[in-house]
Amino acid sequence: MPRRWTAVLIALIALSATVLSPLTVVSVSGAADVSGQARNAAPIACAELITNGGFEAQGTGWTQSSAGGFSLISTFYPRTGSWGAYLGGANNADDRLSQQIIVPSNPISVSLTAWWVIATEEPGAGFDRMTISLLQPNGALLQDLFTVDSSATVNLWDQAEADLTQYAGQTIVLRFRATTNASSPTDFYVDDISVVACPPAKRIYLPIVLREGG
């Protein structure tokens, strides 16, 4: 292939790839190394989208409802700090804890993490459950992200994770809902909830010069 066509091809591919990839086109200052590969210059500023994810400001930012009339923000079993969420824990529970989130329109990633642990009197079957879901602001279900039931290991904090990047640019509601049946209740404890949106890294491409005999 003639050299000039090789150079044109490289330039075209680099340009089209940059433009076609919607999450890489951002105007941030940066630098590139001499090989022509982009590298990040400034640290990426990620944003926490959840208000009061650790519940240390108690109910601030959260909407809660409980079939048994319980306050769902409690000091009983926090993972960190003094406060955490406590759902279920009674028979015929239907406890809901939710928060509306505005997801930025141009992040490269939006990640949910939430710590959870259960205690249960169920004998080993998954009759009681807690589901983490995303809803539209009108209450319509968008997606169930994660479900834990009463067959999970008790007393062992674990982390739920989900990728919410597809909801960029939308206003969504993150909801934790616990339901229990008529006997042997299960406690679902949640703490340290986080939704982090990270903007794309800045990329700049320097022209590539091919030299014969280099």
Partner: protein
Amino acid sequence: MTHRSMTQSKAWLIVLTLVVATFLPALPAQAEVGTPRFDVQFSGVITQVPASPGYPVGVWKIADRDILVTASTRVLPTSPAATAGMWADVMVKRQTDGKLLALKVIVRPPEIRIKGPIAAKPTDPKGIGDWTVAGLMITVTDKTKISDRGGPLDIGDWAEVSALRDGMKLIAVRMRGIEIQPDIEIFGAIEAFSNTSWTLSGINLAVNAATLIQGQPAVGLLAHAVTSLQDSSLLALRLKVAINQPGGPHNPLAFSGTVEKLPDRGLVGEWTVKGKQVMGSASTAIIQEQGLVVVGAEVLVIGWQIGERIMAMQIIVLSSPAPGGQFVRFHGPIDELPTSGLIGLWKIGGRTVKVTEETRIANTSLAKVGAMAAVGGILGTDGVVTATWVMVWPQPGPGPH
């Protein structure tokens, strides 16, 4: 290769690099997909962790096993750092050289868990002082978190306590009221075990030939015991070691299906569930909260395989064609007993209780008018409770002692 073709190769290499570099960051962050395959999963006591600043990478000793933690191991949480004496839930892969490579390590405080009846409580209005739960002395301090959401915390009621050991004392971290249970439960670290007794976190349990033991015990592993309070000692009905080794002995097995055949009398003996032979022993838990066990009931069997048969640790009724209403549980004094034997109608706390051959009765020798008993069963439309279990307390009085 000619100089020209080398140049072209370089060019294509650069093109490829650019394309990869451009597109890769655009891929969304992937959530963890599934659980990595492991060779062994266990929970045990941490006795050694790498010294800072290498933490958490290095060799950990958990339940007396050397566990290699690398940069690719998922350690939760990393802060605060684990210390000797804490507990960990570990998922490991066995390397070709025999070393155990950790895929995931979850560190947790060494909280002993106890579910049992409250026999004594302090007079302090905040509950601060010494309690007796499951026959064990538990100290509640002003730092103990207490919840009565799941039930009251009075004498005769049941509590779940998470406690830390301080010398010979158990200091409650959390205590919550729970429903009356058919058996007492203890979760702790194995400190000693033999054919006649186990010690979990300082709590002694008697073991006999009827005790069902799942998993190979070892000092330092955690274990869950389901026990019966007899006189002042705890007899282990079921012991489950917190180890899961696919392909190993007594590997956990669970399946659900229809009950096709039951033992001729009672529930101890051979069952047929979904065409499989299932052994129900006197120590097998038969959970009948969703309905009574009859042929045609849907059940979940949890146990392990022994040859062609399955030894059942638990059989849980999922649904039943037997008539019946809500599952109820209560406790009270025994007001009346059948004139002969224990099968027949009892009166407990003013309620009529039907005891059948399928009813599990704990402490039968103590069953007498005036003794305290706890009952779980299905409430019929006639107001009679068909008992699936009855637990008689060792001594008469206002509550379990």
